[in-house]
């Protein structure tokens, strides 16, 4: 027993020491530490992604250019470093024999560091290159094993202060609220460019306090939010295989890919029915799934997958495709802008478009006597980027045939939903972004209302106007002010009132390290 305790203590000490040692690097999260890059390489203001962050995400957290198959060959008039370089064909791994070939081992280690697919320079000068240095300075065993030298863990905390008229304040909520909102652990990276992985663990989110008001709100619960790995270019094909728990690739943006703090875009986040008996399905919810995805022709991205619900044999299915016009492609390559020509709108214009569909069933866990709800969602997204301006547009349509899981259809069981959102953003300074959003949800039922005093018998509407100002005094620290104006915010409760209004101001600090 004491041996086990000692082992456990040893492991904990090892982990803690690793975290402490990591403090000598940049005090920013896992990907920054691993690739020694700034947050702004991939983000506008954390956590919103720029197009290189999107390429990094689509490439399974393999740093594009550092070891990707898209790394460019030296040009005709090369730098001194590449003047006498020889190239190793992509994927042509050197043979390893037992007679101790230091040169080959060096190449193997370089490959393990993610450079195997890129042209390898063998001239003297590249020995000075940081990538080569990094390989040499890392533990050989760790490099060959593909294990990251530092634990790829980061932490994100969020503290919110909000004030205003709130008609749907949850228990423990009040009009002026100081809230230590959440604290998350994240891990991500790749193993020798072959397998990408990502984990989000919600360590704390503030729960409601129904006890004495002196009681600090407890933890709402811990949870694995996302936990997946992705096999890159499976069996030498352009197809990646993703398994685990993750947000199925449906919309163009993951739920945290925005500067605003509260509410994901309504086409991704709305649910149907009442709080007590409605469907809990959301487009952006993490699910246990298997997904195949691929970048085709550098600018086309397609994904399709199957989702499993615990306690239900029927599987859900989904598909997504997107295409990008202009800007850097999905592999992070810059567009071919002719610098000798006059400045043109097309030099700066990027348009991304995407479409998705999801078809599934849900119901009561392990209860086959209760009918299930068959539903679908479909949506179109678009993003326009021009210099400091960004415009996102989303539209969604859905249908649920038995939201309330009734054996005999009753009013408000067969629901059609329509959603739309528009968000405009302007980058005022490199670290200052202003955004304004309008979003809309309509849920209607074909059934005739029998009792119009109850919300579940009539159509509901919600409109939101959200203004956000986000500022990053440090790259890993985001301060934001947000104002929300909502009509019909309590649309899922039995006291739905289309004329009720929320006016909420929020100040937020989010930091990552």
């Amino acid at each position: 027993m004491s041996n086990k305790l000692s082992l456990l203590a040893g492991i904990i000490t090892f982990c803690v020491l690793h975290l402490v040692v990591a403090g000598t690097s940049h005090a920013i999260p896992a990907f920054s530490r691993a690739h020694k890059v700034e947050c702004t390489t991939c983000h506008t203001i954390y956590p919103e992604l720029n197009e290189y962050g999107d390429a990094f995400l689509k490439n399974s957290y393999v740093y594009v250019g550092k070891g990707s198959k898209t790394a460019k060959k030296p040009a005709a008039a090369p730098a001194p470093a590449a003047a006498t370089a020889k190239e190793t064909p992509a994927g042509d791994a050197p043979l390893v024999k037992g007679d101790g070939d230091a040169g080959k081992l060096s190449k193997l280690k370089a490959g393990a560091m993610g450079a195997s697919a890129a042209p390898q320079a063998t001239a003297a000068a590249p020995a000075e290159a940081p990538a080569a240095e990094a390989t040499e300075t890392q533990s050989e065993g760790m490099v060959l094993a593909g294990i990251p030298e530092q634990l790829p863990i980061s932490f994100t905390g969020s503290i919110n202060y909000s004030a205003g008229d709130r008609n749907n304040a949850s228990p423990g909520g009040n009009n002026v609220d100081f809230s230590a909102q959440s604290f998350k652990l994240q891990a991500g990276g790749n193993f020798r460019d072959k397998v990408g992985f990502f984990v989000t663990y919600l360590a704390y989110s503030q729960g409601a306090s129904n006890d004495n008001t002196s009681v600090t709100p407890p933890n709402n619960g811990t949870n694995i939010n996302e936990f997946f790995m992705q096999w890159r270019n499976a069996l030498g094909t352009p197809v990646n295989v993703k398994i685990g728990r993750f947000q199925p690739k449906l919309g163009l943006w993951k739920s945290n890919n925005k500067v605003s703090m509260t509410y994901n875009y309504i086409p991704y986040s709305y649910t149907v029915g009442t709080l007590t008996s409605g469907s809990v399905f959301r487009v952006d919810q993490p699910q246990d799934a298997i997904e195949l995805n691929s970048i085709l022709g550098k600018r086309f991205f397609a994904a399709a997958g199957i989702v499993n619900h615990k306690g239900q044999n029927q599987k859900d299915g989904y598909g997504h495709f997107s295409y990008k016009f202009g800007g850097a492609d999905y592999l992070g390559n810059e567009p071919n802008v002719d610098l000798d020509k006059e400045e043109s709108v097309l030099d700066f214009l990027t348009v991304s478009t995407g479409a998705y569909g999801y078809y599934g069933e849900n119901g009561v866990y392990d209860n086959n006597s209760i009918p299930r709800n068959t539903f679908y969602r479909a949506g179109l997204d678009a993003e326009v980027l021009y210099k400091i301006f960004r415009l996102r547009m989303l539209a969604g349509y859905g249908h649920d045939d038995n939201v309330l899981l009734n054996t005999h259809p009753t009013p408000w069981t067969d629901v059609f939903s329509k959603t739309a959102a528009v968000e405009a953003e302007v980058t005022l300074l490199v670290n200052l972004i202003a955004a304004g959003r309008f979003e809309y949800l309509q849920e209607t039922s074909d059934n005739t209302p029998v009792n119009p005093t109850l919300n579940n018998n009539r159509d509901i509407y919600i409109r939101r106007y959200i203004a956000t100002l986000a500022y990053a005094p440090l790259e890993n620290l985001k301060l934001a002010l947000e104002y929300k104006y909502e009509t019909g915010p309590n649309f899922r409760s039995n006291s739905y009132d289309p004329n009720s209004i929320n006016r909420i101001g929020t100040a937020s600090a989010t930091f990552s390290f």
Binding site: H35, K36, V37, E38, T44, Y63, G65, K66, A71, K72, P74, A75, A76, A77, P78, A79, P80, A81, A82, A83, A115, P119, A121, A125, P126, E128, A129, P130, A131, A132, A134, G327, A328, N333, E334, P335, V337, L339, D340, E342, E343, D347, F348, K387, I388, T427, L429, V430
Partner: protein, 121 residues
């Protein structure tokens, strides 16, 4: 006398051979930059752009190290003419980079020039 002339000629030749075409650097660490006096006059305006606009977001050290080693210091990517153009386009498209297409073009030509100069033996 002939010996003296021969010796003088040899010394002159030796000194001429040792002359360096490279654009020289000065300073260390974050203060590292190129010595403006070793840059050809026609590239001086572009150099002025480089040291005033590019340093708003990153040090000159990053540029100098990339050119001197042939590798981008952070990403480890090969830093050649093609990469210089790609970085130029990236900076052009970066919101609030405050650089016009003409600015970028001049800086790209300057960096290509330094790259070429430093590749001379």
């Amino acid at each position: 006398m002939k010996r003296i002339l021969l010796l003088t000629a040899l010394i002159t030749l030796a000194v001429a051979t040792a002359a360096d075409a490279r654009v020289k650097t000065k300073g260390r660490g974050a203060a590292m930059t190129y010595d403006a006096t070793t840059i050809a006059p026609q590239y001086q305006p572009a150099f002025e752009l480089l040291i005033t606009k590019c340093v708003k977001c990153h040090t000159m050290e990053r540029t100098v190290v990339a050119i001197q080693t042939g590798r981008a210091p952070i990403t480890g990517q090969i830093f050649d003419r093609q990469a210089i153009k790609a970085y130029g386009i990236k900076m052009l498209r970066k919101p609030n980079s405050d650089m016009s297409k003409q600015d970028i073009r001049e800086v790209v030509i300057l960096l290509n020039y330094i790259l070429d100069e430093n590749s001379k033996k």
